[in-house]
Subunit: 290 residues, 3 copies
């Protein structure tokens, strides 16, 4: 496997950004209690529209008027699991893309079981997690430390190959896009593998950067063509957006001698301000060549 910087991919993610801003997709989120506000603000910042709803009596209707559905298991509760399954099945019936974020998979039996159930019964179009959660889904013995990626799962450009093989196999096995966050992000639809080298470690020092990324992935998927390839490019676009926003936020934080409080504000600013030209110039997307 050889990795090559892809200018073509930069053009595609620039289009994904533009599509999202032009179509303003409505994104239905059933998500955790910690980062629900940030998910809504992230979706608005990138040009889409959020709606959060999980009452069993309305989830199907909400999904029906939405362009994407995001399921996040960060703070599970009994009725919420039912709502996810109900909305997820409706979405698949209607061709609404489903993003699944298996927060904390590998940490408890419940999260593993619910993840399995969502994958089996809903068949999400995109699974977005950190490397440790993705490994847990794959059946590897991951080490989940809270909901942040375990250090032992750190993936860099130098050792990305093993992880890339896993992600690609898993995408094939689950017949969906798998998108894993790390020092280097790895995304695949089972055919193509993309690596995204944008981002900053401070993203792990605010809560919700992973959840927001899943929400952004929903927004971009909602504006994308309805094919596995379309969803893969949408996910790569959302990863670039979040990664560049992290870089931009950190640059301002460093200059000001500030901390994670300012980082959070500037991250939202950047999600709002980054444009197609920034994507063209600053995205660092590698594509696998056999």
């Amino acid at each position: 496997m050889t990795l090559k910087l892809s200018e073509n991919a930069n053009e595609k993610v620039a289009e994904a950004l533009t599509n999202t801003k032009q179509t303003v997709p409505l994104v239905h989120c059933i998500t955790n209690r910690v980062t629900i506000t940030d998910c809504a603000n992230g979706i608005l910042a990138c040009g889409a529209a959020p709606i959060m709803a999980e009452d069993l009596r309305e989830v199907e209707e909400i999904t029906s008027i939405s362009r994407a559905l995001v399921l996040n298991i960060g703070t599970l509760m009994p009725l919420q699991i039912e709502a996810m399954l109900k909305a997820g099945k409706k979405a698949k019936q209607l061709g609404v893309p489903v993003v699944f974020d298996p927060v904390g998979a590998g940490a408890t039996k419940l999260r593993d079981e619910v993840s399995k159930q969502i994958i089996d019964e809903v068949k999400p179009d995109i699974i977005r997690g950190n490397m440790s959660e993705i490994r847990a889904l794959y059946g590897f013995a991951g080490h989940t430390k809270g909901v942040e990626a375990a250090a032992s799962d750190a993936v860099t450009l130098n050792n990305a190959e093993e992880a890339a093989v896993i992600i690609k196999e898993m995408a094939e096995k689950f017949d969906c896009v798998v998108a894993a966050t790390g020092e280097i992000d790895i995304l695949s639809d089972g055919k193509t593998v993309y690596l995204v080298a944008n981002g900053h470690p401070m993203l792990c020092k605010i809560t919700g950067s992973g959840c927001v990324l899943s929400a952004l992935t929903g927004a971009y998927a909602g504006a994308a063509g309805k094919s596995k390839e379309g969803f893969l490019e949408a996910a790569v676009g959302a990863f670039v957006l979040s990664g560049l926003a992290g870089e931009s936020a950190y640059a301002e934080v460093e200059k000001a001698g500030a901390g994670t409080g300012m980082f959070h504000t500037k991250y939202m600013d950047a999600l709002n301000l980054l444009n197609a030209d920034d994507f063209r110039k600053k995205a660092k997307i590698y594509v696998e060549e056999d």
Copy 2:
């Protein structure tokens, strides 16, 4: 109908601000999961005190020690609906003003039914929503896009008359203050119609600006005289506060070349810093003259 800028109204909203800061009303909110933090911070910023509670075993007690009750259906859940009805009825028994925010009314049957039930059984003193939600309550076929106002419902000074008639009729029909947010806000108690021309479009690009406005309306109503007229002036005051805060926040964001992250911070700053003199000088309140 002729609209006229009212200096007298500016004086009244300045008083509403002062009353709120002096009496520090405790505001009981049963509200959605997305914007609950912003509602609490908004209430604190304007000089009041928030308390969020929805366990059926304590809502009546909490309402009893509060000066206002705010019901927001943005993320409905079965027990929460019961809590709203229970707290709402208690509030009415005790003369505690009730603000109802029908988030997403028109989007699902559940939201319509719950809205109807709250209006019928609780009889809120103030209904605060965007034009699309208010139209849904009125029985018009609104177009709800997520929880933001549908573009087709945009109201400006030039075409405010039709909407003003609806709001006034509805206030009469429901025997309460109806307060609708738009490019121009329209508020009526069934007799008088006020229009508020303060605000900025970026308020729609952060989540919670509508919910916060309902919470602020609760704070101001909690400090107001207990009459329909008092509640109307309180609502106009809260709308001016939020509108001016949006204007002030955007001025800083524009100067800094920033985005919605900074806007959120500066909006909270302004809710906290605006004073009676700002209201006197900068409020743009029109009053209907027959």
Copy 3:
């Protein structure tokens, strides 16, 4: 009782900060819906790792992999109370320190009953509340105004003695550390009494500063030696961190002529940036001498 500034205590809290940053304890929070995001961000900012979970089927597993458990009753719900009891008992079995924040105790029967049940059945290692809540637990007739400290309960250096006696007795009675927030904070393990004079009144003008302090107390306790003395020093450390962060945030807000929005951001920045040296130089810790 004589109060004396303690340089030795400053050294101890500096160690507490360093320990927390070095060991990155995982902190399990079952907490309220208003401040859950701020609690997670506060824990991350100070160098620890948060995990929020309350499904009955996973709370024991989550507690088992955690180094501290924080229980906060700010927005009670039936299943949440069960989750707190279950996780709390597991924590005690395993020697995981439990911090209890009796938000709003004294305001409703439910909060009093649940507080009593948690104290009786879980036996928390640290109880952290404002003076009014602590008095309510002690059986005094407190005046709870929302969840902020009632003005009549204001404790200053000049009248700290009476309150210090109560806190010490209560720590003895409940066999745990009691840590009360006020203009002057008072903490005791039943033997030693510490007073912390850091902080700023604007901390009461943002929601969550009390809840975040309880979360920070959990983080520091998770990194501390497992003794009552260790937990007391951990709590004093967390109080100094939050107090200094409030001072630092206010200094920036005052300079900028800003309000509570910026204060919130700068408070998080300071939680993230304060170091052991800042603690040594700026902590104002008094210790009781008989």
